[in-house]
Symmetry: C2
Subunit: 366 residues, 2 copies
DNA sequence: GATTAGCACTCTAAAGAAATGAGTGCTAAC
DNA sequence: GTTAGCACTCATTTCTTTAGAGTGCTAATC
């Protein structure tokens, strides 16, 4: 199957062309400069003269794998070439490059701190910009509700969802609620709702609850809204970023004012959630996905490449780690690094419930 | 008094020099280009020839108010000149420039959203970078604690502080806590701690509580730690930023890689808390403070000017709004804008308790 | 004494001009 | 099919020139 797929992709590329193309790509990844025929002539062990290479490169250009920025310049790879490169690379190597094993010197107790740390470590280590989204809860269940009295005018609803996601919500009330009523409401809500998923809390259930709440139906309504939000949890999908300014390190990105827009995207954070959504769908390539240029999920990243990894903590909790850099990114290293991080995160938090434990950071690995 | 202070500051500056200096500053603020004698000769209504202006400017340079970037260039103001300018400006005008009155089209219900909005509106409107810190609670009191059982291994402590700041904390437990014990602990904690400030929860109190908790002393200890954090609230002083990339719009800041560092400061956010601390101390100038160049509270802003406003919501809750831009900032507009925002915020949230109300955004003003 | 006109001088920024060199495409020979 | 050779292109660098803005100084004027 891999063979056939290969044939499809490398359509018309004989082995020599392929080797030359790879040489061009690798060289360009390193230097960032257009690659000339003479360079390839020496760089490969094909023992071909530059003239021959020139002929081949001319073919490659016609096929859309490389272009010249201008006449009389070397060639640079197109998005098509990167795609080919990445695909074959991903197929060939399943080897884990964990040169940054143990880079997260110690696991953080709190998940948000941990994710922040992941983002920062990745950014510092790769010199690209990073985005980490906290695990979103998909189809999760309500654990319990705690209703407390804050003052005469408002109640506090503390909602805990499976996976120990906690959400507080202020519920305004018109009349004073006494302790007894509060207790009743607490029992009412918990006895009916505990263990429920969003789907299961249907109109019938809601009507039943409101009926039983009597004159406090309004309050119950407010609480249910808060519950819905807590379970869905989409509103405040936490996003952590780091190293946005790394973008300025790559001339091809730093120049124009597009760099500003891009960094702005990182500052706003809001749009970045799209990266998570996009990459969550797929589970094929070991949770790693590569978007090159136009494929990028966000407009301001059209000149970049985006590599995402989805980590999976069980209980349907999935988050994503993404790296954003120039198209001439060190895909090899980035993919390896992401895999390592993904493993690290999964090992640390999987099935231990959101909060995490103090000890035992990287148990399973190796 | 103002006169004397003026005399101190404008030491050796006669009226004409002062007017010329002001003209240089204003012109430079507008254009960003060094200002020549001929320009001033026309720009002011002094009716002096360029030659005379040159003589005066030569004096001003000697006095340290202006410098030439190089021989045969016009003059640009020094930090000293900006300081003078800002000080006299602040003295002279108490008039509120509210050209962005009602810019916050509608008040947000939730404070964090509101502050985010303030940051964004300011950034878009001024074209500078903005920092808004949420009100920190100083010397605040505990409202109540709600202890709930999450599962066999952990409890959830929900801590509400005056001003309705809510904090959740997971408390790991070794043995299973039954409902009755939980109720007892709840009562124990609330009966002793409600209404207490951090100072009042002293060692005696702590010992007393632990004694009464018996075998659950450990749990009480953990809870008290969480309470301390909640009241202090310093750990996660919320910081909202916007328009960091505006910095790239000003050539004098965008050029070097210092711009990267600066934007990075905004991304990290952590260091920005220092702005709040710094500016909170002072209440003299109507809550507005201007830091020019070297005076800036953060290292990476040494080439910028920082204008901060402290807003005061009563109950000791104070936060800050800051604007970071080039030294040739439109101080006039910025100060006016900040004052307006400060008022807007105070009117919206003052004494209504953190949550805010839906209606009545800009009541008092004008 | 203060102000101004005039002029020589300085230095930057912009515009041209020339040199450099990397790289290509093509052709003819191997 | 491969290669050597050569003419040609074009970005980049360097040097030169030019233009212009602005100063500082001096001598004349008010």
């Amino acid at each position: 199957m891999a063979g056939q797929e290969n044939k499809n992709k490398t359509d018309g590329l004989d082995d020599r062309k392929l080797r030359i193309l790879h040489a061009v790509i690798r060289n360009y990844l390193e230097t960032g400069e257009p690659v000339g025929s003479r360079t390839i002539s020496k760089y490969t062990d094909l023992n071909l003269s530059s003239a021959t290479i020139r002929n081949e490169m001319s073919d490659l250009e016609e096929m859309g794998y490389i272009v010249q920025p201008h006449t009389s310049a070397g060639r640079i790879p197109t998005d098509k070439a990167y795609r080919l490169y990445v695909d074959t690379m991903m197929e060939e190597k399943e080897r884990e490059i964990s040169d940054l094993k143990g880079l997260l010197s110690e696991a953080e107790e709190k998940m948000d701190l941990m994710l922040k740390k992941v983002a920062r470590v990745l950014a510092v280590n790769t010199n690209y910009a990073t985005v980490v989204t906290a695990p979103a809860i998909h189809g999760n269940k309500l654990k319990f509700i705690q209703l407390s009295r804050v003052d005469d005018a408002q109640l506090l609803a503390t909602i805990v969802v499976e996976g120990n996601v906690i959400r507080n919500s202020m519920i305004p009330v018109d009349e004073v609620i006494n302790e007894e009523t509060l207790l009743k409401l607490n029992i009412l809500l918990n006895s009916h709702l505990n263990g429920m998923s969003l789907d299961e809390i249907n109109l019938g259930m809601i009507t039943l609850l409101k009926e039983q709440a009597g004159i406090h139906a309004g309050i119950v309504g407010d609480i249910l809204d808060a519950v819905a939000q807590a379970i869905r949890g989409d509103e405040d999908l936490e996003v952590y970023t780091s190293g946005a300014t790394n973008i300025l390190k790559y001339p091809e990105l730093a120049d124009n004012q597009k760099a500003g827009e891009l960094i702005n995207t990182f500052e706003e954070k809001k749009a970045l959630a799209k990266i998570a959504e996009e990459s969550l769908d797929d589970g094929s390539t070991g949770g790693i996905q590569v978007y090159i240029g136009e494929e990028a999920p966000i407009d301001s990243m059209k000149d970049c490449s985006v590599v995402t990894a989805t980590y999976e903590l069980g209980d349907g909790m999935r988050g994503s780690i993404a790296i954003v850099g120039p198209k001439r990114m060190d895909y090899d290293k980035v993919v390896g690094t992401l895999k390592t991080m993904k493993d690290e995160l999964e090992n640390t938090y999987k099935k231990k419930g959101g909060g995490g434990k103090k000890k035992g950071s990287a148990g399973k690995k190796e």
